[in-house]
């Protein structure tokens, strides 16, 4: 039974405002926003915490396009391809149209993703109930290897990062025999590495280190006309086909373990470039289709990523990895049994996300000028405050300084890795998925009674075989689509 209280709307609203502002600020990612928002909710009841986190998620994804259009700097990775046509459109004097289209198609993409989640989620949940450890092992491995392989041109570095994350997940007590592993006899590591502290470090503190260099205040001297931000029917009508396939692409890519809105938007942009022969303007020079495709896809991907997360317990991307961590923290265990035991939470999430998406649309319109003013807020004031939020967030986990040390350590290591061109997202996925991979691998090994029978079972079990084929197919398809999507932008 889903009981809805009006106060939840307030939580979603506050979350969406925070998400929109953080998403709009260049350098502050959606993942970082969620990590910091999660740290506020440690002592909260489950449902208000869900409302708050989901509001921030919806707002953060939409907020990324504001700086992409106004400044030629994507606020989030998912808004990278919005820059290609959004900024040229602004230079043509159509900033209102650009942001108006972006916000509207985000709303459409988000709602589309949710509708599909509502129908497909329960079905996928039923299929997932038939999964054994073999199937789970394959799916979780698929998640971390796919995100690593998709680290454009840095596959081996992505794999190193992913397996580093798995190693971090192994620190502490062995889940089956209770053996203490890699703790060096210290109390600091005996309970394992707190994954939320590690995430705050990898996404929050690391970004602070990155921003230390870029402390220049942004120069913006324009305003939006609120009335013109509501999209014109004439334009939207021409964008319906683009929105349709982009929403489907975004949702499907969001569904794949390890991929999310950032990849979905790139692929949708690439697909639209090759499908639309007569765009409103040439791509790269302010084509409306060039804004509609990535923005629809990155919001539709939210529904896809949540489907995988809620029904299989596997985070679709780094944002859902953080969200799944937050769910664990609040005692909620997404996975195949989630639809049986916590079905009401499933519907809460859908309702909150729907409200959050609609709210973010209107906040984006009415608050756009305020957000432009916030973009002018000096970096020398923002960056220290973010580091303070990271300290507070990690301290509040257990009210001790050990988690602060872990957070700073991971922030610094994440910074070093990023400076050496290693992607950071696979580490987080590795930390979250590592224990799942290990438990399922060992259960599968025990039930198969040996390594050779285990390998054989991957092809003799029908569901495992289907997943194996899907894995191989997705690798081929993803490498192909990523190449075609990324190539034209590199020009």
């Amino acid at each position: 039974m889903v009981e809805f209280e009006l106060i939840y709307i307030l939580y979603i609203f506050v979350g969406a405002v925070i998400g929109l502002i953080m998403g709009a600020l260049p350098g502050l990612t959606v993942t970082m926003t969620i990590v910091l928002v999660v740290s506020l909710t440690f002592g909260w009841e489950m449902i208000p915490a869900l409302a708050f986190i989901i509001g921030a998620f919806a707002g953060g994804v939409i907020g990324g396009s504001i700086s992409a259009i106004a400044l030629n700097i994507p606020g989030t990775a998912a808004a990278v391809s919005t820059v290609f046509d959004g900024y040229p459109l602004k230079l043509r004097g159509e900033a209102n149209n650009a942001l108006g289209i972006s916000l509207f198609v985000s709303l459409v993409g988000g709602i589309f993703g949710l509708i599909i989640l509502t129908f497909v989620g329960p079905l996928l949940g039923e299929i997932a109930l038939k999964f054994g450890p073999q199937e789970y092992f394959l799916i979780t491995m698929w998640g971390i290897t796919l995100v690593a392989v998709l680290s454009q041109g840095r596959m081996t570095k992505g794999l190193v990062a992913a397996f580093l994350g798995v190693f971090v997940g192994m620190i502490g007590m062995d889940p089956i025999t209770g053996l203490m592993r890699f703790t060096f006899g210290t109390r600091l590591l005996s309970g394992g590495v707190n994954y939320i502290a590690a995430m705050i470090g990898l996404f929050g503190m690391k970004e602070v280190f990155v921003q230390l260099k870029k402390s220049k205040t942004l120069n913006i001297d324009e305003t939006y006309s609120i009335r013109d931000l509501f999209p014109k029917f004439k334009i939207i009508k021409t964008l319906i086909p683009t929105m349709t396939w982009s929403a489907v692409i975004g949702w499907v890519i969001g569904l794949l373990p390890g991929t999310g809105g950032d990849i979905g938007s790139l692929v949708a942009y690439g697909a639209t470039k090759s499908i639309v022969k007569n765009p409103s303007r040439p791509f790269g020079q302010g084509a409306y289709e060039g804004i509609a495709a990535p923005e629809t896809a990155n919001d539709a991907a939210i529904g896809g990523a949540l489907t995988t997360m809620l029904t299989l317990g596997i985070p679709g991307d780094s944002v859902t990895a953080v969200i799944i961590g937050a769910f664990y923290m609040h005692g909620l265990l997404p996975g195949p049994t989630f639809m049986l035991t916590n079905k009401h939470y499933f519907y809460y999430i859908i309702i909150f996300l729907a409200i959050g998406t609609v709210m973010s649309y209107f906040i984006g319109i009415f608050g756009s000028n305020l957000m432009l003013k916030l973009l002018k807020f000096p970096k020398w004031a923002i960056v220290p405050v973010i580091s303070l939020l990271c300290i507070i967030g990690s301290y509040a986990l257990n009210n001790n300084m050990n988690d602060v040390i872990i957070m700073v350590f991971f922030g610094f290591v994440g910074y070093l890795l990023e400076r050496s061109n290693y992607p950071v997202s696979p580490i987080v996925l590795g930390i979250i998925l590592g224990p799942m991979i290990e438990t399922n691998f060992r259960q599968a090994l025990i039930s198969s009674k040996g390594f050779v029978p285990l390998m054989t079972s991957f092809v003799t079990r029908p569901l495992a075989l289907i997943i194996l084929v899907l894995i191989i197919g997705s690798f081929i398809l993803q490498s192909f689509t990523m190449k075609s999507a990324v190539k034209p932008e590199g020009k």
Binding site: S39, L40, T41, G43, W44, T156, L159, V160, F163, L164, V166, F167, M170, D174, I176, T177, L179, R181, F182, M205, V208, F209, L212, K213, S215, K216, T217, P378, K379, W380, A381, V383, P384, V385, S387, L388, I391, I392, Y395, A396, N399, M401, V404, V408, G411, F412, Y415, L416, L417, R419, S420, Y422, E438, R442, L445, I446, S448, K449, G450, F451
Partner: protein, 161 residues
């Protein structure tokens, strides 16, 4: 060695160190504690596979970096810049840790105002006048910290250091 960037060497050392820790720990469990590695119920088999996988991917990364090094040499970033940035990040990290350990004795509001003001003064490169920098930094942190204290402690019931 000149073909690699110093930061790459640091990462190789970190990852190589982790591989060494994993494999030596496993070796110690096998040889000293008599645990079996390749048994279906062994708690060592998964860490062993991860250690080996990390080692293989590290070697592949080193080979790939070696191949790309000549290409990157021309358009690569200035080594001094990188060293300066990493040093700045390290100093900042140490500063954060010092703050985290000192703040319980100073009190959250006073300790945090001092911490934020110092960082803001150091980060405000755009303002040449150090006096103006200091006044702005102290004013901003004196406003922000009580607000954050109220929001986290009073509204959200979050424990503060």
């Amino acid at each position: 060695m000149k073909r690699f960037k110093p930061i790459d060497l640091v990462i190789y050392a970190i990852v190589g160190g982790i591989v060494a820790i994993v494999l030596t720990s496993i070796s110690s469990w096998v040889n000293k504690d008599g645990m079996k590695l390749f048994e279906t119920t062994s708690p060592l088999v998964f860490p062993f596979l991860i250690g080996v996988a990390l080692f293989i991917f590290l070697i592949l990364t080193i080979i790939s970096d070696f191949r790309n090094s000549s290409k990157e040499k021309e358009d690569g970033e200035d080594k001094n810049d990188l060293g300066h940035d990493v040093l700045m990040a390290a100093v900042y990290a140490i500063g954060v840790l010092i703050y985290a350990f000192i703040v319980p004795s100073l009190g959250f509001i006073v300790g945090t105002i001092i911490f934020l003001a110092i960082i803001m003064i150091l980060m405000n490169y755009e303002e040449a006048n150090i006096g103006k920098r200091a006044i702005r930094a102290i004013a901003v942190s004196a406003v922000i910290v009580p607000v954050l204290h109220f929001v986290f402690y009073q509204v959200f019931n979050v424990m503060l250091p």
